[in-house]
Structures are given as structure tokens and as C-alpha cells.
């Protein structure tokens, strides 16, 4: 991976909270990462760790009226999205940042045809006539390998399989040739064979348009295949980031270590898969100090008192844990 590729998206100290009846949910509690052009960053963690909320914050689609970005910057090619007005954000969504959601079954409007929904996205970016837009839409469908696009245009969502629908969603996502694509567990709802095809399709799209991709998932198999770099999230914060291979081979944060241990290996005998005791802390009642402390094998009282800052532990490899000795950063 050429290190020299320019940073497309730079997220610094992002905090996004949800104000609910039971207190403030600190879904995203100080997340920072950078995303380079043509690169795929995996955002990994157990469900409820705030990864989806992070994705939604980037496109400013936190659930109204509860969600609000309270701190931090989201620099898209230097422009901070946090301070943009809603109408300005409308020009960003779809054109410069786009997103694929998890469940294809509900991602498409059931009462409009596929063609309508694609054309609607295209119309925002191209000032062509209806005829030309329809052609573009068919072209988009062909690009995501949907068979017989002409008939498909007139079909309704409920007449298509999950896999096909997710391709349509993909087509819509890239219709505006965005610079950044956020994929929030796009294949979780699909069965395995379709999953692989879809991932290959995403790779191909990325290669063709050089777009940067943030891939949100809890499936390490996908991380290994898709992502150049990985950021592990726990209880609203990134605890470790680094190149995929490094994290798989030599994780430094106890949580990443435990996660890697619980991934079934092809080679070697598999007895009982180790699991991590306890539960991730509820996001509206977070303990002081390191949030993994209650479940960490190497915990000491310092961990419980003070939250460890993220420290470099290797080439483009950082971790937020007191055990980690600082090593010469690059």
C-alpha cells in the first residue's frame, strides 16, 4: 500500500452523544482516525460499541432529535463536516460521502420501482433529461453486475433477492462518484456465497474510482480479505489501529488479543473457542479509567483510575493501553 496516498477523511476527537430518557449515551466518545484515498479501513468491534454511530456521524445522519455531535472534527479533504449547515451537507451526501446500510430488505423504498430510486439519485448529480438518466441508471446496474437491467428497472424491491437489492444500493451509493464510501456491515444479511461476490464487487468499484472505504463489521474474516488497515473499537473509543496483517499477527491491546484468540483458525485443532467474560459497559454509564478494565486479564489499579491515551506501538500501529511500552514510532 503506497503510504504516500493523500488523506481523504481525517476524523479528530469525534464525540457524538444520544440524549435519551435514561441519560446521555456516549456512543462515540473521542474517535480519531484517518482514511486515505483508495484505502479500506476496517472499523471492528462487538455490537453496541458505537461503530454504526461513528459511520452515521460522518454523514451527519444521527437519529433526530436524540443524536448530536458534541465535539471533534470530520475533515473531508480539509473541509470540516461538523460545522456545515444541513443544506450544505445535502450537497456532500451522495456526491462526496456515501453509505451502504446493513439490511437490503429495508434499504429500498417498497413503493417505488428500482429505476425510480436510482434515477432519483442520478438526477441530483447530472442535469440530463429523463431518457439520458434512465440510460445512466441501466449502466449503473450493469456495473454492479445486475442481470437484464432493462426489466429490473421496472421491478419493485420486494421482487428482488437480498443480494440483488444490496447491489442496487451499491449502485445508488456510487452513483455520485463519492470520494468516501462507508459500508455498514453490508453483507451481514446476505448468505456466504453472495457475500463473497458482493465484497469482490466493492473491491472492483474501489479500484475503478479510487474511493476511500470505511468498512464497519464484526466479522474478522471480512476484515482480513477487505481491509488494508483496521481500527478496533470498544465502548465508544478506538483502542488499537494498525495494518491488518500486524494486528492479526501481533495484537498489542488485550481486547484485540482476546478478539483474535476467539477467531476460529483453519490450521490447528480447535477445542473450545475462548470467549471474553462479562459484557461491554452500557454506553450511558461508562466507568472511569480504561473501559476494558473490568474484563481485562492484565488489569491493575492504574487502568481502573486513568484512561490510557492512544500511543504508537509500531509502524502506523497504535494502541491505548498502559501495558504497551512506547516503541519508536515512525
Amino acid at each position: 500500500m503506497a503510504i504516500a496516498a493523500p488523506v481523504v477523511l481525517d476524523v479528530r476527537g469525534l464525540r457524538a452523544y444520544l440524549y435519551t430518557r435514561w441519560g446521555v449515551v456516549r456512543a462515540v466518545d473521542g474517535v480519531s482516525f484517518a482514511l486515505r484515498e483508495g484505502e479500506t479501513l476496517g472499523l471492528v468491534g462487538e455490537s453496541g460499541c458505537g461503530k454504526t454511530m461513528t459511520g452515521l456521524s460522518l454523514v451527519r445522519l444521527l437519529p433526530e432529535p436524540a443524536g448530536r455531535i458534541v465535539e471533534g472534527q470530520i475533515l473531508l479533504e480539509g473541509e470540516d463536516l461538523v460545522t456545515k449547515s444541513e443544506s450544505e451537507m445535502r450537497h456532500v451526501r451522495g456526491r462526496r460521502v456515501s453509505m451502504i446500510l446493513q439490511d437490503p430488505q429495508t434499504s429500498l423504498n417498497p413503493v417505488f420501482t428500482i429505476g425510480d430510486q436510482i434515477v432519483e439519485a442520478l438526477r441530483l448529480h447530472h442535469a440530463d433529461g429523463e431518457r439520458a438518466l434512465a440510460v445512466r441508471a441501466e449502466e449503473a446496474l450493469r456495473r454492479v453486475k445486475v442481470a437484464a437491467p432493462e426489466q429490473r428497472m421496472r421491478a419493485y424491491p420486494h421482487q428482488m433477492s437480498g443480494g440483488m437489492k444490496q447491489r442496487v444500493v451499491g449502485a445508488i451509493a456510487v452513483a455520485g462518484e463519492p470520494r468516501v464510501l462507508i459500508a455498514d456491515e453490508p453483507t451481514t444479511a446476505l448468505d456466504v456465497t453472495i457475500q463473497l461476490q458482493y465484497l469482490a464487487l466493492l473491491k472492483e468499484l474501489q479500484a475503478r474510482t479510487r474511493l476511500a472505504m470505511l468498512f464497519i463489521t464484526h466479522d474478522f474474516g471480512i476484515v482480513a480479505r477487505m481491509c488494508d488497515r483496521v481500527a478496533v473499537m470498544y465502548a465508544g473509543r478506538i483502542v488499537e489501529t494498525g495494518p491488518t496483517r500486524t494486528l492479526f499477527r501481533s495484537p498489542r491491546h488485550p481486547y484485540t488479543e482476546a478478539l483474535m484468540a476467539s477467531v476460529p483458525r483453519m490450521e490447528g485443532s480447535v477445542t473450545r473457542l475462548p470467549s471474553i467474560e462479562g459484557q461491554p459497559p452500557p454506553l450511558h454509564a461508562l466507568p472511569a479509567g480504561c473501559r476494558f478494565a473490568p474484563r481485562c486479564a492484565y488489569v491493575d489499579d492504574r487502568c481502573r483510575r486513568e484512561y490510557p491515551p492512544i500511543m504508537p506501538v509500531g509502524p502506523a500501529h497504535e494502541a491505548a493501553c498502559w501495558r504497551v511500552e512506547p516503541s519508536p514510532s515512525r
Binding site: 454523514v59 445522519l61 446493513q102 429495508t106 423504498n109 413503493v111 419493485y156
Partner: protein, 305 residues
């Protein structure tokens, strides 16, 4: 789709048969029309003659047989008061009611949808609470009282609108408002809840992701989905309106079938009462079936089900 319609028709026929039996019995329990037609000093012999003239002297089971066999042939007997076929009396008055119902419904929709959308979009805030209260006003005011106050204000005091009866378009305004207002609360609440549900779904996020504005998302994508249940409610509301019409038609001297139903009850006009209930039942069931078909048209998921 054909199988669905056939099943519904079969059910409707069964329903109408049960309805016919109930109304036949209930009408006779409520008294005898002869007592209302005779003068105070009519003798028992006069009563016997009148019963014979009205065909009420036959034993009940024979009357039931005549009624049911007649109904199959479409002859629902002759109205005791109007001395002409009950179906004729009903269809003479039906157009008057049918001219009023759609206006009341459209009026209710025109008020209910914006209120519902406002309540959903600004859910939990004061706007939600106020639009809820405004909608509930429709249920909270007895419609006859509303009608009379409207007449007093708009025709007596301001002289803007005619006070009652049928006539040019200005005659439709007050009755339509009186009839439609009490629908607003139910409609508004449904629009609100179904819109909230739709707003929570994924494709709304996707629409926003496309870069569509909030208003386009709400008014195009969400409302279209949210309105589906509202149209299916048309059937239920149509039935509500036909009964609600009794009060409004009385206040505004509107010669509709609502008023006719009330008269049939008060005068114990068995044949007319039976005919009105059955024909209204048929219309309501027909409208419900029609609405379900329209619903299928609106919601593609159903169309090919």
C-alpha cells in the same frame, strides 16, 4: 387477486344474511308501526284493519320468509310510511348523502394529514401536543352542537352561508365541516403513528444519503408509505360517516339516508328500516372491498401477493 375477491364476497353475503336477521328481530322488538299511525281513539278493530292493510297481521315467521325471499329477488317490501318500495325511497335519498360524504372525508384529510405530519416530525415537542389537541377537538365536540353553533355564527350572525338544506355549493360547506371534523382525530393519529414508523425505517436513511432534503424525504418517500393505511381506513370511516350523517343531516335538514334511517327507527317502518340497513351494509362492504383493491394498487407489495 380474484381468489381474494371471491372469498370477500362470500364473507359479505354471510355477513348480510346475519345483518338481515338481526335487524328483522331488532325492528320488531322496538314496537309496532300501527300504534304510531292510529289516532288516540282508534278502536281495536281499526288497529286490526290497519295491520291487515300493512301486511303486519301475518305470523312473524311468514313475514320473515317473505322478507328473505323478497330480498333475494331484490324486493325489500314497501315502506309503511311512504307507501312505495323501500328500495326506491332509499335510492331517491342516497345521492344526497353521497354528495356530502366525500367532501367531509376530503375536508378531514386536508386537515388531518398536515397535522399528522407536523406531530410526527416534531414529535414530543409542543407542536406535537398542540396538533394532537386540535385534532381531538373533532372528537370532543358533539357534532349537532357544532352544527348549530356554525349555523348561528355563519348564517345568522355573519350571513355568509345558507343555514341549511341542499342547494348550490355554499350549502355544502357547513355540513361537510360538521360531518368531517370528528374524523380528523382518528386520521391524524394514524398518519402520525404510521409516519413515525416509516421515518424509522432504513430506506429513509438511504433517501437522506442520496442527498435529498428533509422535506422531500418526508413528503415523497415517507408520506406515500404512511398514507397506505389511511386509504385502507377510508372503508371504516365511510361506515362511520354514514352513521354520523344521521345527526348532521337532521341539523342541516339534509334529505339523506342518515335522516331516513332515523325516521325509519322512530316510525318503526320495518320494511324501510330493513332495506336501509341492508343497503347501507352492502354499500359499506362494497366500499371496503373497493378500498382494499385500491390499497393493493397503492402498495405494490400486495399487488402481486
Amino acid at each position: 387477486m380474484q381468489r381474494f375477491i371471491l372469498r370477500r364476497l362470500a364473507q359479505s353475503v354471510l355477513l348480510l344474511f346475519v345483518l338481515a336477521l338481526i335487524i328483522f328481530a331488532l325492528a320488531r322488538v322496538s314496537g309496532n308501526p300501527a300504534d304510531l299511525l292510529l289516532r288516540e281513539d282508534a278502536t281495536q278493530e281499526d288497529r286490526a284493519h290497519l295491520l291487515r292493510a300493512l301486511g303486519l297481521d301475518r305470523p312473524v315467521h311468514e313475514q320473515l320468509y317473505l322478507f328473505l325471499s323478497g330480498a333475494l329477488r331484490g324486493d325489500l317490501g314497501e315502506s309503511i310510511r311512504y307507501r312505495k318500495p323501500a328500495t326506491e325511497v332509499f335510492f331517491e335519498r342516497l345521492p344526497n348523502t353521497l354528495q356530502l360524504l366525500p367532501l367531509a372525508m376530503v375536508g378531514a384529510l386536508v386537515v388531518a394529514i398536515p397535522l399528522g405530519v407536523l406531530a410526527a416530525v416534531y414529535r414530543g415537542t409542543i407542536v406535537d401536543r398542540i396538533s394532537g389537541a386540535v385534532a381531538v377537538l373533532g372528537i370532543a365536540t358533539p357534532s349537532f352542537w357544532l352544527g348549530i353553533v356554525l349555523i348561528y355564527v355563519f348564517s345568522i350572525k355573519l350571513g355568509l352561508l345558507p343555514s341549511s338544506r341542499m342547494g348550490g355549493p355554499s350549502h355544502y360547506v357547513l355540513p361537510a365541516i360538521t360531518l368531517g371534523l370528528f374524523l380528523v382525530a382518528g386520521m391524524m393519529r394514524l398518519v402520525r403513528s404510521s409516519l413515525l414508523e416509516v421515518m424509522g425505517s432504513e430506506f429513509v436513511k438511504l433517501a437522506r444519503l442520496k442527498g435529498l432534503s428533509q422535506t422531500v424525504v418526508i413528503w415523497k418517500h415517507c408520506l406515500r408509505n404512511a398514507l397506505i393505511p389511511v386509504t385502507t381506513l377510508f372503508g371504516v370511516y365511510f361506515a362511520l360517516l354514514i352513521t354520523g350523517a344521521i345527526v348532521t343531516e337532521t341539523v342541516f335538514a339534509w334529505p339523506g339516508v342518515g335522516r331516513l334511517t332515523y325516521e325509519a327507527v322512530i316510525f318503526r317502518d320495518y320494511p324501510l328500516l330493513q332495506a336501509v340497513i341492508l343497503l347501507k351494509g352492502i354499500i359499506v362492504l362494497g366500499v371496503n372491498l373497493g378500498v382494499d383493491i385500491v390499497y393493493a394498487y397503492l402498495d405494490p407489495r400486495v399487488r402481486y401477493a
